[in-house]
């Protein structure tokens, strides 16, 4: 027989007045079975759930009212099972708990603050995880069917080429559809100052694959805009619609100017949607192949080997990832063979479930979040241990009260429930405070705005939602039960007779095993927390004092993309030459030059290089090498030492022999015994690829990452290999930064009024982005470590103080009988220190294993860094000794007579 939804019936049982309950349930069933016959199971169950949901509030408020009216007994006392439902008991317990907590404001406030810190920190980090991983991307319908499709070359991920994408799209039977896209920053003009925004070049079906609905107008029709059949139209993001068009409905048909090229707006994307990658803000969506300078050109799109596009697809229902991958690989391989005659070998596809975070970054971000979550979880557990300790002390004080109740016939279960309700109330209130705290902390996290390159704008939604609330509620309830069950069970286990006689007077030993375990575990958690925090701080300081090989102090950087105003190669070259000349003339500028890449700003390569007479490593077709394209004066601007030969000069122009300045590592690798000046190397095979003549050798530097093996690196003339986007580096006299920043802006405007200019930024600020994960982790771990240290100290102090308090009589007797105070003191300290010390050793053991997992996040610092371990151990030992010494000193100062009397 069909059942009513049991869970929902249970909810009704909890909230309904027991006198009404049987009638209400049978009435509900009557309608439910009628609905079941008429409309089927799904509708009937849905109806039932709605009924229950709609009944909760009226039933509860009715019960609260009648309960208040009837006037209830404040003392839970012996259980009354006749007619008293679970709910009545719970309400009674809650009221009693609230009164007990209010009666002891000191305890309550301290406990709530402690817990709120722990729960708040957890909620803040969880809302970060929620914002990045769980909330998903607004507007996308049915994301479970989506997959990321990339090319897999020897385990590394590559983008795909347009011809292969269109072949695979047409031929495959595993996907409903697939769309290609690529994000490129563009200058958006029209009225007012041009701004740089991210654009997304998409195939016409991008929006339909994601199943988005336009907020206004329409999207590109899936059939009408596939290269080469491309409309001159654009879709703008909701945010851009708000910012630039004040949400005006007349935007449709208006013209926006992208990199100098006008396009008509045909639609607005749904609110909150940037791209299908979480947080990425996009200004405008353009059809792939639209002839806008700076976007992918028709020429680039036609090459079957140009991996320039990313792909998102939607699987057909019932098709899973693995067969899809096999089918797509076969197709792509065939397509490539047909188009190129198999020049590149097997074309392996990688198909992965779509997620808000691209699969390439998923592991790194997950590890990072896991570290943060562990850190805050440790803090929470310490806060909980402290509060559990406080509860334990409090229940110890209430032993007489509890014993009286037991003697009067209250069941143990009833009392435990009462005590648990008190903790639940305490933890839930603290949870609510913690959520408020986390809102504040999330805003603080968002304020960590890394200086990202122009046009890249990431905005995460860290707002509260049901997941965050559910998380903090669960955390509160679980910790409440976990940390107060043991104290509650202990308190109610009391031996009636001895307690009533007042055991403390009998001088028997007070059991403190539970407390010792708590203090020990707390110490263990503090050790782990502080060492993790210490390791991150060490990483940060070692990174900042690292010798990078270049000097970024007093260097200002302005990045300019000549394609954003539609300049071609010739005009661009002219523009950059003029810009460098004029920049040098600005007063306050000591040296200036242009380079395609910032140091650490990613590495570019023309491929492997070869040198005549030097054998390539086994199985490889050359040596890995990276390059930067620079204008004359680059080494002087960044204080990179020229060891031999000369810098690139204005004479090294397009038509002449290509020249290169190489780093010391490269010189030593290829010409260890000879003078490298005048020697040649080739990209590709000897005398087949590009031929470079070595004209100079410079000191090694950090190029790609702060911690790397020094690679082969060479600098070529930007005039010989033109990059459309370059960064102007200027060494500026101290104090002249502002004037220079204003003037350089002026200069660029004079040279080309349509070119968007980002404000000049100090080079060192730009490089901060590379420290970001370490900075955030060090900051979180540092703050949490400090909180943890405080909590740990308070915990040890509390336990020792309590133990001393319990033993006042004993101490009194000892001193009265002539014991030396120093003896008593050392006795107390020794006893007090056992648990923290055991905890510390256990914590160290765990930490040694745990920090290994951090290796990738703490470059340059050993996970067993002796300085960090040593200082943490020293600090904690000092704290533990101090926390036991203080109460112990208080104990020996007691007047024995008073101690004996007070008992």
């Amino acid at each position: 027989m069909e059942q009513v939804p049991i869970l929902f019936r249970l909810i009704l049982r909890l909230v309904t007045d027991p006198r009404d309950l049987p009638y209400l349930l049978s009435d509900l069933e009557e309608d439910y079975f009628a609905k079941l016959e008429a409309d089927g199971r799904h509708t009937a169950r849905k109806w039932y759930r709605r009924q229950v949901a709609g009944s909760i509030l009226p039933c509860l408020s009715r019960r609260l009212k009648s309960w208040r009216k009837s006037g209830h007994v404040t003392n839970p006392g012996p259980p009354k099972h006749n007619g008293m439902s679970i709910m009545d008991g719970l309400l009674q317990d809650l009221r009693f708990a609230a009164r007990t907590l209010i009666k002891q404001p000191g305890f309550t406030i301290v406990a709530i603050i402690t817990l709120a810190l722990g729960i708040g920190a957890n909620t803040a980090i969880f809302s970060l995880v929620n914002g990045v991983f769980l909330k998903g991307v607004a507007g996308i319908d049915d994301p479970t069917g989506l997959v990321e499709i990339t090319r897999d070359v020897g385990g590394r991920v590559f983008d795909m080429s347009y011809p292969i994408i269109s072949d695979v799209r047409e031929g495959n039977e595993v996907l409903e559809d697939m769309a290609a896209f690529t994000p490129i920053p563009v200058a958006i003009g029209g009225e007012g100052e041009p701004t740089v925004k991210m654009s997304l070049s998409v195939t016409g079906n991008y929006f339909s694959v994601l199943r988005l609905r336009p907020a206004l107008g329409r999207f590109f029709a899936p059939d009408e805009s596939f290269f080469p059949n491309v409309p001159s139209a654009s879709v703008i993001s909701h945010r851009m619609w708000e910012e630039r068009f004040n949400s005006s409905p007349d935007v449709l048909g208006k013209t926006i100017v992208v990199n100098g090229y006008p396009t008509a707006v045909i639609g607005v994307a749904p609110p909150g949607f940037g791209a299908h990658v979480v947080g990425l803000q996009v200004g405008v969506y353009l059809p792939i192949g639209i002839p806008i300078p700076g976007l992918r050109s028709a020429e680039e799109l036609q090459g079957p080997e140009n991996g320039i596009l990313e792909v998102v697809g939607r699987l057909r229902p019932g098709v899973s990832v693995t067969p899809a991958r096999a089918a797509l690989t076969a197709l792509a391989d065939g397509a490539l063979n047909a188009r190129t005659g198999s020049a590149f070998g097997t074309y392996v596809m990688r198909v992965e479930k779509w997620g808000p975070v691209p699969s390439a970054a998923r592991t790194a971000i997950t590890v990072f979040f896991a570290v943060l979550m562990t850190v805050v979880a440790l803090v929470l557990s310490m806060a909980c241990v402290n509060v559990a300790n406080m509860i334990l002390s409090r229940t110890a004080e209430r032993r007489a009260e509890i014993a009286v109740r037991l003697a009067m016939g209250a069941s143990r279960r009833r009392l435990v429930r009462q005590l648990l309700t008190e903790s639940l109330l305490l933890f839930t209130v603290a949870g609510a405070a913690g959520v408020l705290l986390s809102v504040w902390a999330s805003n603080l996290l968002l304020a960590f705005e890394p200086p990202l390159p122009a046009g890249i704008d990431v905005e995460l939604d860290l707002g509260l939602d049901w997941r965050v609330l559910l998380f903090s509620l669960t955390v509160s309830v679980v910790t409440a039960v976990a940390f107060s069950l043991a104290p509650a069970l202990r308190a109610t286990r009391s031996d009636l007779v001895s307690t009533l006689k007042d055991e403390s007077r009998s001088g028997g030993p007070v059991k403190t095993r539970l407390r010792s375990v708590m203090v020990g575990s707390q110490m263990a958690a503090t050790v782990t927390l502080l060492i993790v925090a210490g390791l991150f701080l060490r990483t940060l300081s070692s990174l900042e004092s690292l010798d990078t090989g270049w000097d970024g102090d007093n260097v200002g950087v302005v990045t300019i993309d000549a394609e954003l105003s539609g300049m071609d190669r010739e005009r661009g070259r002219e523009f950059f030459r003029e810009l460098a000349t004029r920049a040098k003339q600005i007063t306050g500028v000591e040296a200036a030059s242009l380079a395609a890449k910032l140091p650490l700003g990613g590495r570019s390569s023309f491929g492997n290089i070869n040198v005549e007479g030097v054998e390539a490593p086994q199985g490889q077709n050359g040596f890995r090498a990276f390059l930067n394209r620079v204008t004359p004066g680059y080494f002087r601007t960044l204080n990179i030492r020229l060891l031999q030969g000369r810098d690139v000069s204005d004479d090294d122009t397009g038509g002449k022999q290509p020249v290169a300045v190489i780093n010391r590592a490269m010189a030593q690798r290829f010409w260890p015994d000879a003078d490298p000046i005048g020697k040649h190397f080739y990209t590709g095979q000897v005398s087949q690829g590009r031929d470079f003549e070595v004209i100079g050798v410079v000191e090694n530097a950090k190029y790609g990452r702060l911690v790397e093996e020094i690679p082969n690196f060479y600098y070529v003339s930007a005039d010989q290999w033109y990059p459309s986007a370059m960064s102007l580096h200027m060494r500026i006299a101290p104090g002249a930064e502002r004037a220079v920043a204003a003037q350089i802006r002026q200069v660029v405007r004079q040279l080309d009024a349509n070119l968007p200019v980002q404000p000049m930024q100090p080079m060192n600020d730009l490089l901060q982005v590379f420290f970001l994960p370490q900075r955030v982790a060090a900051w979180v771990a540092g703050v949490m470590g400090f909180v943890g240290l405080l909590l740990g100290a308070v915990g040890v102090y509390g336990v020792t103080a309590f133990a001393v308090g319990q033993r006042r009589r004993e101490i009194g007797v000892r001193i009265a009988l002539g014991a030396d105070t120093s003896n008593v003191l050392s006795l107390m300290v020794r006893r007090g220190l056992v648990a923290p010390m055991i905890g510390m050793v256990a914590g160290l053991a765990v930490t040694v294993i745990a920090t290994r997992l951090l290796t990738s996040l703490i470059p340059g610092v050993s996970p067993l860094d002796p300085l960090t371990f040593g200082s943490v151990i020293a600090i904690l030992a000092a704290v533990a000794v101090l926390a036991t010494l203080l109460p112990a000193r208080k104990a020996v100062r007691l007047d024995p007579v008073e101690a004996l009397r007070a008992g």
């Binding site: 309904t16 309608d31 709609g54 009715r62």
Partner: protein, 140 residues
């Protein structure tokens, strides 16, 4: 939908021509201190009047839902029935178990004389408030 035997009573209640004086309201202790019936209370009372001897929880819920065309939860009905019972406007009695599957007994509700009075009073107040108003024209 009035049950046949209740139809008369129902009409009588609603169209009572008894003149109404404010002082009589104040002095009449049968009307609760809060004075008026709340909207939902009025619906429940009216349904009971309409259903006559067939007024039990599920029937009342269906009656209101059917006539107001808005979803009504059983919990709200029971909470209101309880409240009206507290105000002494209703009585209830339990039937013998039904000869159907599950065979539970039902609890039927009747208006007390005070309840009938309160209903009449509320209906009259409503009439008087509406008197002379042409809502059709206003809202249309």
């Amino acid at each position: 939908m009035c049950a046949p035997d209740a139809a008369k009573k129902c009409t009588a209640l609603l169209s009572s021509p008894k003149p109404f004086h404010i002082p009589s309201v104040v002095n009449n202790m049968a009307i609760p201190k809060s004075g008026f019936l709340a909207e939902f209370e009025l619906y429940v009372m009216l349904s009971i009047a309409r259903l006559g001897s067939e007024a039990y929880g599920a029937a009342i819920r269906r009656e209101i839902e059917g006539r107001t065309n808005r979803p009504v939860s059983i919990g709200a009905v029971y909470a209101t029935l309880g409240r009206l019972g507290d105000k002494n406007l209703l009585t209830s009695h339990t039937s013998d178990p039904l000869p159907v599957r599950g065979g539970r007994s039902r609890r039927f509700y009747n208006l007390t004389p005070e309840g009938e009075h309160a209903l009449r009073h509320s209906a009259a107040m409503l009439n008087r408030m509406m008197d002379g108003l042409d809502l059709q024209a206003k809202t249309g």
